[in-house]
């Protein structure tokens, strides 16, 4: 039951109706409804792994309760962290270790790996639960007394599958306070949701068809085709993930919650540092607060700082999956970040003219797109083949895919999307309810256009890219 499915719309409406019909009762009753809905939602994907979700919830809840009663807080916190991380490591990286072992020793156990199933959303709900435990240890968040509230925090259905990874200090207070679901919030939520559906089902899924087509025949593709596929993959993954985040934000808003913004127009960044402040904000913030700061942050020697930064980026890479491509992707970004910092570019990028901003932005976009090649392709060899192909196959022209018309439609949709992003970034289009009539009318016309484009050009039945994490 993905967000972009009719069955989810029915589910969402039912939850909304239930909450509206119980708006005069105590907030804990509303939280029970939300918690039951969240568990039901999770069961649609993997009812067996509901036990794992309950385990992570119970472990972190009682670990934090214990921290309030004992002086061995550090030890207890460590139990919570290790106890939560172990299932994540087990489910996510076992296949990688088994296939590597099998490749080295030929002991014939790779068949076992084929039947290994990854629990949906494990990376997200584990990190979300751990953020609470570590915040309690650092005394940034009070210990939660209500199990229902904490369970809802971990399992909240808009965020459980692919984030944003909420901090306890943002979401728990909202869970405690009574929420008035207003028509305004429902409308704003629907606007975010529709925009998210457009990004996912029109832009991301259409570009995915072209990118998959090119990378399926990578040994024959020309340089210009490979370069275009790499650039379009950058847009694809942004729209896939930010589209999902927008849908999550919209659903949360309709239920009276203000979730964390996960993307802030990252491809308009003029430096790698700025890019990482705007891309997957919740994950970057998690690694910054709980890994980077724990390692000493930048209050260490220069070389130690370089190691800290590299470690954070590498961990961020392998968080996405146990494949060399993700590790290399993290490493490439670490290198770009360090080179930029040590050259002083990130400071210069803040004080530039429009022309140099555009140049800087283009360079950042190109570098990030090249890094995405490692993220997208299954192996180091195929990534190198693509990168070398970009430089050496200029004898052939652009391959527009199986249908030139579809390619033209993709370009038109992409142009519309970029224009819309610029208008949203500059405040000409706002998802919040505007008072000015002209802006409201303009937004409504734009939204009608979005819905019509979804009807006409959407691709169905494509799972979210970040779903696999």
């Amino acid at each position: 039951m993905l967000f972009n499915s009719w069955s989810f719309i029915v589910f969402w409406v039912c939850v909304l109706v239930l909450l509206l019909s119980t708006r005069n009762v105590k907030v804990c009753f509303q939280n029970i409804i939300l918690l039951a809905s969240s568990y039901l939602f999770y069961c649609f994907f993997s009812s067996g792994f509901l036990l794992l979700l309950l385990y992570v919830t119970l472990l972190n809840f009682y670990v934090c309760r214990l921290m309030g009663k004992t002086s061995q807080r550090r030890f207890v916190c460590a139990i919570g962290i290790v106890g939560s991380i172990v299932p994540l490591l087990l489910f996510k990286y076992t296949v990688f270790f088994i296939t590597t072992l099998d490749a080295l020793l030929s002991i014939g156990i790779s068949n076992f790996a084929e039947s290994w199933v990854l629990p949906v959303g494990i990376s997200f709900f584990t990190f979300q639960a751990l953020s609470y435990t570590i915040d309690v240890y650092r005394k940034k968040t009070p210990i939660e007394k209500s199990f229902i509230s904490f369970a809802l925090f971990v399992a909240f259905f808009p965020t459980i599958l692919s984030g944003p990874i909420e901090k306890a200090r943002n979401l728990l207070p909202q869970i405690h306070h009574s929420r008035l679901i207003s028509l305004d919030d429902v409308c704003i939520g629907c606007r975010f949701f529709v925009w998210g559906v457009f990004k996912k089902m029109v832009i991301a899924d259409r570009l995915a068809q072209y990118v998959d087509y090119v990378y399926a025949g990578v040994e024959y593709a020309s340089s210009v085709t490979l370069i275009l596929a790499a650039l379009l993959y950058s847009v694809q993954i942004y729209c896939d993930f930010s589209g999902y985040s927008d849908m999550a934000l919209g659903i949360g808003r309709s239920l009276g919650f203000r979730l964390t913004q996960n993307f802030n127009f990252p491809y308009f960044s003029t430096s790698i540092k700025s890019f990482w402040k705007k891309w997957h904000i919740s994950l970057t913030s998690w690694f910054t607060e709980y890994v980077y700061f724990s390692l000493g942050g930048n209050r260490v020697s220069r070389w130690r700082w370089v190691i800290n930064i590299s470690l954070v980026f590498l961990l961020s890479g392998i968080w996405h999956g146990a494949a060399t491509g993700f590790f290399i992707w993290g490493g490439v970004h670490a290198l770009l970040y360090l080179v930029e910092h040590l050259s002083g570019w990130s400071q210069k990028a803040n004080n530039t003219t429009l022309c140099s901003s555009c140049l800087g932005g283009t360079i950042v976009f190109v570098l990030v797109s090249l890094a995405w090649v490692f993220f997208r392709l299954p192996s180091w060899d195929s990534s190198l083949m693509v990168l070398s192909g970009m430089l050496t196959r200029w004898n052939a022209g652009l391959n527009t895919g199986p249908s030139a018309f579809t390619f033209a439609v993709n370009c038109a949709c992409l142009l519309f999307f970029i224009l819309s992003e610029i208008l949203i970034k500059n405040g000409h289009l706002s998802f919040e309810t505007e008072q000015a009539v002209r802006k409201r009318v303009f937004f409504s016309i734009w939204m009608i256009g979005i819905v019509l484009l979804i009807e006409l050009f959407c691709v169905t039945s494509n799972q979210f890219v970040y779903f696999q994490f």
Binding site: L183, T406, V409, E455
Partner: protein, 297 residues
């Protein structure tokens, strides 16, 4: 007061959305009707799948024969789909102008293998037509059917939008210029990977029912076997011969039905084909030459 204003805005938004949805869909449908010649009564109707779409130059045929031709052929349509296409055309145009139908056949006609499994989805643009509506409602999942029923623009894919644009531009040219890779095809044949000929009685009965739709109205039907690459015939030669004999028998059993096999010199030259089944632009012109010679006789 503000609540009422919000409700009013929401209602206006949805009404505007539905109106624009229907308007845009109606426009596209008009273009698609022009493209397939469904917007007016024709003297001649061409029915089939991509094979006949690419092999016949409608514009040239109209000019040389002095007729208006409807070319209602879609990639991936099965025999059952072609029955619906025939029924749809006849339900729309009840007059007596139509005299001749060219029904595309080949060695794979009596099997749906290799064609699209949800080919009913090709007919969503015409959901308003009764015969199409009842066909789709039998084939499509309920949710899918009702989404397309309520939201008209969801009935259109890229291929159909392109067909609508081509319809408005009155453009029916075969733009495929590529030539098949003969050595790759020889390797494919040697590996035994070519599509097999199957006979399904259900498809045969549906073909007969389709023919009867026309012959009951006194309309002549030509079962047209347009050129395919000769190595394809030679892959299962006995089965190919049996299928051709079946077409000849159908023609012999009915006064208003003929069978025409245009697999001659064109079939022997691989430069006319983009793949063993489909001709390129050169092949289209060569096949159309042969077809016009036959029709003028």
């Amino acid at each position: 007061m503000r609540f009422r204003a919000s409700i009013f805005s929401i209602i206006v938004f949805f009404v505007a959305l539905l109106c624009l949805d229907r308007l845009a869909a109606a426009l596209l449908r008009y273009g698609v009707d022009i493209n397939f010649g469904l917007d007016q009564e024709a003297d001649m109707l061409i029915i089939g799948h991509s094979h006949i779409t690419l092999a016949t130059d409608k514009t040239r045929m109209e000019k040389e024969l002095g007729l208006f031709i409807s070319k209602y052929a879609r990639p991936g349509v099965t025999v059952a789909d072609r029955y619906i296409m025939a029924k749809q055309y006849l339900d729309r145009h009840t007059g007596s102008k139509l005299k001749h139908v060219l029904y595309g056949v080949d060695q794979f006609t009596f099997s749906d293998k290799g064609l699209s499994q949800n080919s009913y989805a090709l007919f969503y643009p015409w959901l308003a037509d009764k015969s199409v509506d009842s066909y789709i409602s039998e084939c499509a999942p309920l949710q899918e059917y009702w989404i397309h029923k309520l939201f008209h623009l969801t009935r259109y894919t890229d291929e159909v939008v392109y067909a609508a644009i081509s319809g408005f531009r009155h453009e029916w040219i075969n733009r495929k210029q590529e030539v098949m890779d003969i050595s790759a095809y020889e390797k494919k044949l040697s590996r035994g990977e070519e599509r097999r000929i199957y006979f399904e009685k259900k498809s045969y009965d549906t073909l007969l029912r389709t023919i009867k739709l026309f012959t009951d109205r006194g309309i002549r039907v030509t079962l047209l076997n347009l050129p395919t690459f000769y190595r394809l015939h030679g892959y299962e030669p006995e089965k190919y011969k049996d299928i051709c004999e079946l077409y000849q028998q159908i023609a012999a059993d009915n006064e208003l039905v003929d069978y025409c096999d245009l697999n001659g010199k064109v079939s022997e030259d691989h430069s006319y084909f983009r793949d063993p089944l489909h001709v390129n632009y050169r092949g289209q012109q060569a096949a159309t030459d042969e077809l016009l010679k036959m029709l003028k006789r």
